[in-house]
């Protein structure tokens, strides 16, 4: 798309008069997605949209407006609406301050790959076909999605800040089922579509799907577990909300007090938006450059991420994790990393006398934020392990578990890690697999005929 973000942002700022300070945020997403189910492509879409969000501020009064009409009339209307709201707004002494210009302007393309930006529907369809072929060999119904996205975020304000980041994401995921209860899952995510091996993704899910056929019940209770990278990722996704947010800490609902031991000493977690081994995003929506933030260091709560509002309240500086300001959600750790351990991945299961191997967690919910208590289901390949061997697939289980407690009982972490992108939140994390001494399974899935 031929839009010049800097010109559009400046045009928006130029329309703000009357002594207002202003911040303009430009976002442009070009997203294409090929979706398959029943072993055929059933949805195939392409969308492009660019938006400018204008925040004006004067003596504590703030007004915000956004538009995707980026012509002259659209920007005129944008500035008029923002100022009209600002003039009526009650002053807020705690309003988010506009970020000052950094010593060195950030214009990042870390994680932008031409291969992904140029991907076409034929390339995605061929990837889908490879996955479908892998599942069909095992008689499995194949579903999934292959997406490619180019994202451009640029922020400018009347204090002279002008920052930008451009990135790309390619993601291929699949679920394969036999219609009688078996299910397998695999996902590959990278800034570079050429790094996505569709056949390997298909083979991984097919192997799991075939192996999970004929699952039987397991009585709920506390069992040792091996959590695959997919399961570990979604746990970190929820810790971002209840442990790593500066707002959760300030409001007293965090499960992670700083300076105290909250997890086992093998657990080290940080956020780094500039690490190319993740899905980089070098700036936040306030234009602030992302800092690397140590969150948990050898089990000790070390830090939280901040935006300009929470930083001001906490008497510190923004770490570059702000959503478009103002907002009710607070800062978000989008680019998480968990340090791998020393155990070869294959030995996680081999080292478990008896317990449950979990491929994936599903539909988590926060039961009690201060206790770090979550509930969810297992999904897409759950297995019973005895003497270090998978002995049978088991039906999915419900669990209700405090994550700080569980992460205090990690007995081994794989010496490898995998980059995974969340389905709902968009949080990316590079995580290892883990063996945990105890996990509280609180319910079983029964067949629908069992009433």
């Amino acid at each position: 798309m031929g839009l010049n973000a800097e010109i559009i942002l400046q045009a928006a700022l130029d329309r703000v008069a009357g002594g207002w300070q202003a911040e303009a945020v430009f976002t442009n997403h070009d997203l294409s997605l090929t979706r398959f189910a029943g072993s055929r492509i059933h949805q195939n879409v392409s969308q492009t949209d660019a938006t400018v969000r204008l925040r004006v501020e004067r003596d504590g009064q703030t007004g915000v407006a956004s538009t995707n009409r980026l012509d002259s009339d659209g920007l005129d209307d944008l500035a008029r609406r923002a100022a009209a709201i600002g003039q009526k707004a009650a002053p807020n002494p705690d309003a988010a301050p506009l970020a000052g210009p950094p010593a060195e302007a950030v214009h990042s393309r870390i994680g932008w790959e031409a291969s992904t930006a140029a991907a076409d529907p034929v390339q995605r369809a061929e990837g889908a076909r490879a996955v479908i072929a892998a599942g069909s060999q095992h008689g499995l119904e194949v579903s999934g999605a292959f997406s490619t996205e180019s994202m451009h975020l640029a922020v400018a304000n009347s204090r002279g800040l002008m920052s930008s980041h451009q990135g790309t994401t390619a993601k291929l995921l699949t679920v394969m089922m036999d219609g009688k209860g078996s299910s397998g899952y695999a996902q590959a995510t990278s800034p570079d579509i050429d790094e996505i091996d569709a056949a390997a993704v298909g083979a991984e899910a097919a192997e799991r799907g075939a192996r999970s056929a004929g699952a039987t019940d397991l009585e709920p209770g506390e069992y040792p577990v091996v959590l695959s990278e997919y399961a570990m990722h979604v746990v970190l996704e929820y810790l971002a909300e209840i442990a790593f947010s500066g707002l959760a800490l300030l409001e007293g609902r965090s499960c992670m007090p700083l300076g105290e031991r909250v997890m086992g000493d093998t657990v080290t977690i940080w956020d780094d938006g500039r690490d190319p081994s993740g899905l980089p995003a070098a700036i936040d929506f306030e234009g602030v450059a992302k800092q690397r933030v140590m969150l948990v260091e050898e089990g000790i709560g070390r830090g939280v991420v901040h935006d300009s509002v929470t930083a001001k309240r906490a008497g510190t500086t923004s770490t570059g994790h702000g959503l478009p300001a103002p907002n009710i959600w607070g800062p978000v750790a989008w680019n998480l990393f968990m340090a791998p351990g020393t155990t070869p991945r294959s030995e996680l299961v081999a080292g478990m006398e008896r317990g449950v191997l979990v491929t994936r967690f599903w539909y988590l919910s926060v039961v009690h934020s201060k206790r770090g208590l979550l509930t969810g289901m297992t999904k897409d390949g759950t297995f019973w392990v005895e003497n270090g061997q998978i002995v049978r697939p088991i039906r999915n289980l419900r669990w209700t578990q405090s994550i700080p407690e569980a992460f205090s009982r990690i007995s081994a972490l794989s010496n490898t890690s995998q980059l995974i992108l969340a389905d709902y939140s968009g949080i990316a994390a590079r995580v290892p697999a883990a063996r945990i001494d105890s996990w509280n399974f609180t319910g079983a899935t029964v067949a629908e005929t069992d009433r």
Partner: protein
Amino acid sequence: MSGEVIERALDAAMGGGASYADVRTSEKRIESLSVKDGTLQGAESDLTAGFGVRVLVDGRWGFAASANSDPSDAEQAALRAVAIARASAIGGGSPVILDDTPPERGTYQTPFVEDPFAVSLDDKLRLLFDVDAEMGRVAGLTTRHATYGAVSEHKVFASSAGAHLEQDLVECGAGFTVTAVNDDEAQERTYPALGGQMVTGGFEAVRALDLVVHAQEISEQAVALLEAPQCPSGEMTVIIDSSQMALQVHESCGHPIELDRVLGMEASFAGTSFLTTDNLGVLQYGSSVVNIDADATAPGGLGTFGWDDEGVPAQNVPIVSAGRFVGYLTSRETAPIVGRQSMGSSRAGSWRQIPLIRMTNVNLRPGSAGSLEDLIADTDDGILLATNRSWSIDDRRLNFQFGTQIGWLIKDGRRAGMVRNPTYTGITPRFWGSCDAICGPSEWTLWGVPNCGKGEPMQTAHVGHGAAPARFRNVQVGVGRWG
């Protein structure tokens, strides 16, 4: 968006080889206000406009969307959709066949008394600050937060079959949240439901919420929960309040009746369904007092409209009749697979997205158990659970666990005391089979759910659920370790 955009897109799509094409244009305006802890936290006006072109080429779907309103962009988008549809053939499989819904022409306008966008900003902010002041009278709160939102959308649907439909939809709503925190607990209360209440209609619906009247009582409950006893564990009789029943209907009925899920089309993301097609008309989903319908014509519902995004008129269809499962939510592509015509529940989250099967207003019909107080009086031993706090359900929509913000034990037909952190869990048909009483029409509320996620790329739908308080026997309550 001009009519020329629609004409040029349809012409280009059909000229490019499509056997069917439709175009949706949309201009949506959103206003949101937020007062937190005595200060205006956010005041925002958003505008988004664009169009999407959906085509069938050789029985394969293609879709392209653009914000650019120049007619030449419409042609480009249409041709892009055609190219995408041709690529869809690479995956193989059987071609799409649509039902024979006749094309319609017409207009629809959400009925309202007071246009929310005509109400002054001063009046709206005054309401939120008044609510905040009432909450602020209660000592011991950690945060207090009042919100308001309104949406207006003008959208046009036109198809190569001759449909042309214009709709103007208006939504608005409000609510408040308070939290109270101590060393061990973080308790939250919201009114009138988690996230407030949102309807199709005018500002009169916001005034009717009486937010200020309820602010003090709800705030006091949040503080009291800090010292309330932990909810007990075990099998109990539960009475579930109206707003939590809406969530229960949403998760355990609304989603599993989506026929695209049933057919596996959402398997990789939203999941599948236990309500497979062999169960239609056969399965006893719940007890005989359970009646559920999908009513896109219900006044005020967030799932109320004139036509869905495939041009099918809004309808009211039975889903569960006297406990028996009898109907699905369908689209023009999926309905023929079960021998039916689309009942009009295919909707897109925005102009950027394709229509998917979404809930309309999936409503639990009121029963004959009178008022909530009547139902409590009729219960010897149990627990009343109110206002959603957490929700989780498996991919087939069988195994659920929900938490509510507050509970009250019931002894000998009376509330015997507040409990904190209540949770309950169950298996969907077994749970609905244990329903033995539903309150009457006076307790029935049509709740708005504006955050229903589904599809890839994920879409957010606005849907509705009418419900009255209901009673269930032998439900597992108090899940997990709370020592």
